[in-house]
Symmetry: D3
């Protein structure tokens, strides 16, 4: 009796498969120590699980129910606050194990730097990996206040790994002049919108793909609960259309990052994040 009772509370909506029987493994990564402005993304996974009781498990967009899928929710990793290097190692190790078990890892960040840990695990197993990146911020600094590991440098670190022309950015509307200049030569950056997602989808077809959604790509009106809100973003509908456009690709892993629920006492940011996660889980299953 208790085990059944607990199910709804303890996992993300509808993700009740045991680890061994699952094809997709969801996990939380509560860490935000390098956040440069307003921290709090560490509470995203806890909030998303608790509040997922407020959304349906069925998607009218894709006419599919998440309860029909074999997804396990592995809970949260234990990440050491204040030590970015070790945190990345833990994420990489866990994702590696999931991949080696033949399953797809799905991370609920935490700050965006953690994507680098997941990508390291995926790229080690898929050397020709492509990364599709939705974000308000370019995240392409070489360092931030002297630190190479930061949520403001994460895509530069990913580029260190993947090299030129394999990172596709969408929705970018904030950065330094240096970042934008550097981006021109090394990554493909769509400013302000998700236009060009079709072309991107074609370009990466056939390759393994990692999809990283920094949820602050969405306009702060729809998603105020984030550390660095940046006006002029895309809508949930725009993002959803773009994400569904990537359905059918060879997705090797994905994440959603940078929900900081304390800044949004209305709860709409967490509710939106739940819905994005539900749609991504169904689309890339």
């Amino acid at each position: 009796m208790p085990s059944k009772l607990e199910a709804g509370v303890r996992t993300f909506a509808g993700c009740g498969a045991p680890y061994d029987e699952s094809e997709v493994v969801l996990f939380g990564a509560p860490f935000d120590s390098t956040t440069s402005y307003r921290p709090g993304a560490r509470f995203a996974s806890s909030s998303i699980r608790s509040e997922s009781i407020g959304i349906e498990t069925y998607s009218p967009y894709q006419m599919e129910d998440i309860e029909n899928l074999k997804i396990s929710d592995a809970g949260d990793l234990e990440l050491p606050f204040g030590n970015a290097g070790r945190a990345l190692d833990v994420v990489e190790t866990f994702c590696g194990k999931v991949l080696d078990d033949g399953k797809m890892p799905v991370m609920i960040g935490g700050e965006h730097l953690l994507t680098f840990g997941a990508v390291r695990a995926v790229a080690a197993r898929h050397p020709d990996l492509r990364l599709i990146h939705f974000d308000a911020h370019a995240d392409l600094r070489r360092d931030y206040m002297g630190e190479s590991l930061s949520h403001a440098t994460v895509m530069r670190r990913v580029w260190d790994l993947l090299g030129d022309g394999r990172i596709y950015q969408f929705g970018i509307r904030s950065g330094t002049r240096e970042e934008f200049d550097w981006a021109t030569a090394h990554v493909r950056t769509e400013l302000f919108t998700v236009r060009g997602i079709d072309g991107c989808s074609e370009a990466v077809s056939g390759y393994p793909v990692y999809i990283s959604v920094d949820l602050d790509v969405i306009d702060p009106s729809e998603f105020p609960g984030t550390g660095t809100p940046e006006a002029g973003g895309v809508s949930f509908k725009d993002l959803l259309d773009a994400l569904l456009c990537l359905k059918g690709l060879n997705v090797a892993g994905f994440d959603i990052c940078e929900l900081a629920p304390h800044y949004d006492v209305s709860g709409i940011s967490t509710a939106l994040a739940c819905k994005v996660l539900r749609e991504m889980l169904i689309a890339y299953y």
Copy 2:
């Protein structure tokens, strides 16, 4: 002297007519006991009246002033928390009296279940009633956790009363697979948007119409103060256009529901609800 002083505080903006001289009777229905996720809609009418001092009584959309209309604000009904059946009876009785006095009832919910009480009163006097329903949620479950009376079942209960083809839904973007399947055969459901409102308006022309606006049809960015926020909604402008498209119909009653003001400390949800109510009162007077 006191009566003049009190006017602005105690009634919805501009609705100062005595009951006997009024053509429209506004009332609040503070009840939310069957709310499945976040309760608090019971405070909607109190909040709407208090904050209506922040909007003008004049509408630049319709070039009309609510102060020119004969509308009385009857205050709030006393509804017994925890007893959905009795609450519906009180709403039905009050609406019945208003209708029998030759006036139009306008309800400020409260949770959406209360619409069933109002519709029972209207349908008893207008057997060929049509219902136009704006909502994020289908509200078509047969029961919820074993309860037939719930804010998640209200449109199914209305259908019990009105039958096939007489309920028009707009903006629906959440429900179970069963609800969507059932809807196909029994009601007309416009997913995600208010498209098709013109056709609906023509179809119901000549019939008595009840209009029920679950305000969560609006995107949570514009209306965060609600129990079950659902990303991907329509805008205030879209809703207003749709509502004005229904001007001229034979409206027998209407309501706005599911404002839960505590979840939105900025107050924009209540301010929006005030404006929707002002426009509906002018449009359907």
Copy 3:
């Protein structure tokens, strides 16, 4: 690996024993449909579990660690919103099973009415039960708006079951004249404070005891997150002293009720509730 990771998130701090090996069974009761003023106590158990990561499992007040005790956290019951009678039945049934399995039930409400369900289960097995009740409100109305089952009537319903002189109230500072008059003849009510707890402890010694803590007995400054805040309450320290004074009694079950976390965005109310729960679990184990 996942199961260990999840432990901290999914149960109340330190309560990780399997049901079969436990001596105490903690469960949540998310229900608040009869709340008369501000609902939201349904979110208490979810909030208490999530935020219990912010307190230590060790008590410097009792020099004991909750991790050394065999306590299981059974998750939340499924209670039908809007149907108080059925909700009480579910609580009673679950508590009965726990008692019949030789364990002590501990409930995280929810609204205070639910105490009646737990007490029915305990009293059926311990006919000479005494109840010690901490609260700001007398909760002794015969009915509330015509309803006999309400969080404002719960102690009257308990009296229906236990009879005169077996209910001890502390901290009461709100009620109708009728409640206070009735209380004089039927229950023992300490106004405003917890004075007299020693005498109470002696009086009930040897009898089975149920302890019900409506957390709003605490002053709203320390516990703002509740539906009906009432100035002039006792402090956490006063309550803790009183609760520790009851250590050694034959406690058959207990509960904490009426945390409504949404009203306190600072989180101090949930943090305090976690600490009260930790101390009670250690004291009455």
Copy 4:
């Protein structure tokens, strides 16, 4: 039917007497234009009326029910924002009328400057008036940024009217050196606490008395919803004891000021203000 329904919402709890039959007249004064730090006290009366449904009309402290008293709630005055002089005139005129009708005026501020308007009306009819003043701030500046009318100068303006030795201050814990020096010679100031209230009560016995409670005299933990919170205040219980100590005096009028409800989303400040008002209405009736 409507009129009865509205009663609970539209007036302060239990204050339903018609003006002509009343002995006490309650009114709101929504004005805060001279507030020096955080404005918002204009919303106090609206908030107090709405939320007074959360407290009982019966006082267990005085064993009396406010419903047994003849008190009318006259609603809010219309005060011109940005013009302190005119606002004071409106308050003075209304209080004068109430006094001339043989009733006691009771004001819900608004900022503290408004007390000067009420005191002008009372002092004109009771030349030997004494004033008892509870506050965190001395409010004794000669001017504030060049303005003689300010919430920081109000007691100096009252002194202009009443003269030396007739103002008794309690709880003061903030001011300039000049204010404290000046106070020594002209008013009686109790720092930090309400000690000495007995002596004050004796001293003013036989004289007409105006009691002004700037609610920020209470500690910010119990009353965070105010414009200028000042740590180290008195408790609700201390204030209540002091206020009850003044029972039996010849009270000619009183007010509560400086609740700014927006700063306290938990609502405990408004709930406390409701309770202070209930107790004062019963005590000084």
Copy 5:
């Protein structure tokens, strides 16, 4: 060392030029005494400076960095709360000095009335001044509760100065019937949107222009932190396009008004205001 450390905190992002070397002078005007609904705009400049650390100094919209421009941040003016006339004089005097020093004044309000002070200074030096006004509210009342100086009358006062046909309004969606009727004959008002900005730009080309942005022109979903939110507004993107359309005009001064940060605990309103200010500083430099 300290001076460098302090720079980021104490001025708006990137505005570090000394006054004497600057071409543009930014200043704050903390005043909101005539606000008719919810005050708090006095905290806008403090909030904008503090939170400007969250945005980049580089604009990807205009490909320019504010750090390359000679802009000084002069801090806040001292304005006497409760005395609108004197506050306007202080604003006028300061703007006059800035203009006489050959620099452009840029004001962070405060309430919208303050625009009148700035315009008086600019118009005295540029008699053929045109004003472009973005706002939700017409602000064209002759007086408000008898007061000629109010945030609801400010554009009428500007018209007193400039005369017919020289004020261009955009985004207006709230006012009395009288205001809209009066506007037809005296100013050019674009209802609801910023359409027609091209024509306006052409019409004022060659004239000195003052641009006043009441930020509540933006939809409350994107800008909830304002005193009088009005649903149905323009988006940040719309406003930005309109503002960039005015680039190249002879801008003599500008302001942004009516951010009231306390109403938006998420901080997105301040973040948006920072971005509007950055873009305007770059565009009109």
Copy 6:
């Protein structure tokens, strides 16, 4: 003119002395990367400066005005998020310079770990340093999740430096069993209260003293804006009495830590912190 205008905004209240002329140097340390529960203390110094306009510069407790003292506010240090070691180095270096310039450093944290940086600088110059520590938490862990540098280990690191019997703790009410056991042998820990402060004051008389106030020692009712609220704390008055009891000691430096302003939208936590800082600056000057 601008420089004068800016003074009130840019420094803590009354701390306007130039660095070279000052005897005390105040600085902010915005860092919270090792915070184990709820981060946000990085915003303390910004919030304290902005909101210090709400308190007087004069203390009625000590009858002294901070404006009479030579205190400079050096702004905030630039600390690299995510790198605790480097952050400590920056704090140590800056404090060392201040000390070498013959001035007393006063730090506004940030998280409590930063105290270790300041103590390293002070202890290097005062080898017989004593430390007096007010806190809810023992902060005596050997490591936290494997990290030796953490806000949960800070006093253990200080002990590494100072050795047995030189750390005096007050108000401690949270920790692991290991911490409390270890404390018995190595530091002097007063549980729950500030009793024994007199004895401590005598014991350290003659020695150089560093005073570290983790503001969460205060009860969460008075100080909700902190990362790890712990019920059952001391009052502001208790803390102030204890701090004034230390007046006259040879204070070599001090700090206040762990204000996390975002968790307290009422602002009372920041207001209290401002007052504690004012009193400490006057007492230990």
